[in-house]
Symmetry: C2
Subunit: 235 residues, 2 copies
């Protein structure tokens, strides 16, 4: 691997948001100002991760992009976390803490990005259900080594628009929260070149609960008003 490239593990890169994240990150290697990177898709099964990596590359190739300038590999979650500098947890909240237990040692001095939203279906609506710590982000911070810098980001991205790397022209605001200024700036830079997002400083990690609670709001508003794949803009 080329050490000048940022090694990013997308754990759960086989899911809905994960797939779009992988494509949008890989494309930054073709942009003059994008964050050059090598992507590792992490999954419980190496085989699933490997397949997802091949699928992402062939999808980008089929869209006409030069995949010779991209690296996407599949690995098990632990191996992926060991290999990466930045680890994105695109997984459900109820799987997060058991996974952190498993990969904890690999997270020393690394950046962990949480787009995790703890929510439940309540009647016909989605409801935000943060853990006792106040937010998924704060629960994650409590369960990683002290040297790990946690950044909350990518919660309110409409999955369909993220996934649609060719046709989607919408640009939504994306809040980024962290207690570490450098980690926050790196994630804001990654966000800036996603092609569909404009980063906004969301403040310290403590502020993540409001960002997390926006996701069920967007789902509920879409349902109530006959809309689809809603994003958010502040102006």
């Amino acid at each position: 691997m080329n050490s000048e490239k940022l090694k990013i593990a997308v754990l759960g890169g086989t899911g809905n948001i994960g797939e779009g994240m992988v494509l949008r990150l890989a494309l930054q290697n073709l942009m003059p100002e994008g964050v050059k990177n090598e992507i590792i898709i992490g999954s419980r099964s190496l085989e699933t991760a490997d397949e997802a990596a091949k699928k992402a590359l062939s999808e980008l190739e089929n869209c006409g992009f030069d995949t010779s300038r991209m690296t996407i590999n599949g690995m098990g979650n632990l191996e992926a976390s060991q290999a990466a500098e930045v680890i994105i947890l695109t997984i459900r909240f109820d799987h997060v803490l058991p996974l952190l237990e498993e990969i904890k040692e690999a997270l020393e001095n690394k950046i962990v990005i949480s787009p995790v939203v703890p929510m439940v279906k309540e009647g016909s609506f989605m409801a935000y259900r943060p853990p006792a710590e106040g937010s998924a982000a704060l629960a994650i911070q409590k369960n990683v080594p002290e040297s790990t810098r946690v950044v909350a980001a990518f919660h309110n991205i409409p999955a369909g628009k993220l996934r649609d790397v060719v046709k989607c022209k919408a640009v939504h605001d994306a809040l980024v929260c962290s207690d570490d200024a450098k980690a926050k700036e790196l994630v804001m830079e990654l966000t800036r070149h996603m092609g569909c997002l404009k980063p906004l400083d969301g403040g310290p990690l403590k502020q993540a609960s409001t960002m997390e609670s926006l996701t069920p709001l967007l789902i509920n508003l879409a349902k109530l008003n006959g809309l689809k794949d809603l994003g958010i803009n502040f102006s």
Copy 2:
């Protein structure tokens, strides 16, 4: 008073958001599809209310609007609530429950609109601090007669843009929550003709907490990112 016009009391119509609301509501009388209305500004002091009413009319007149087709009067809070069919509580959360105690009997069978956001300054950020009921809207519902229909609306309006009836061209989304379908539709119709808002169905009153929590988020984002008078749009 003309009984075909909707009588709207803006309690706290002498404050920041209240002033803008009064102007935007009065202007609906000049719009072909606006909700025709008579406005009563309510305040603890009749004199203050009277002055605010005169000020609003003269401001609209100075902007070149035909105020002969508008009615804006000042009254004490109780008298205003008795005279109105719709009562908007543009006051701070800590003043709401004492005021409701005072005007409770006048609220039978009426619509009460809550743009109230319980928030506190916490360090350099604003933080949402809902009461035990879960939101200001639910606390209000608990403290009005059973026949009163509570609608949560107008929380996330940038005060400066609301106030600027001549130059502001921005249109922001405005969530409206209620358990009463007819009351919700009336408030969405009022919202639709505010000139700077597009109403979205926010669901039942229980959903109001997320809407309320957006206000401190908007204030914090503005501060963190060097922006001003932020509104919100979903797309």
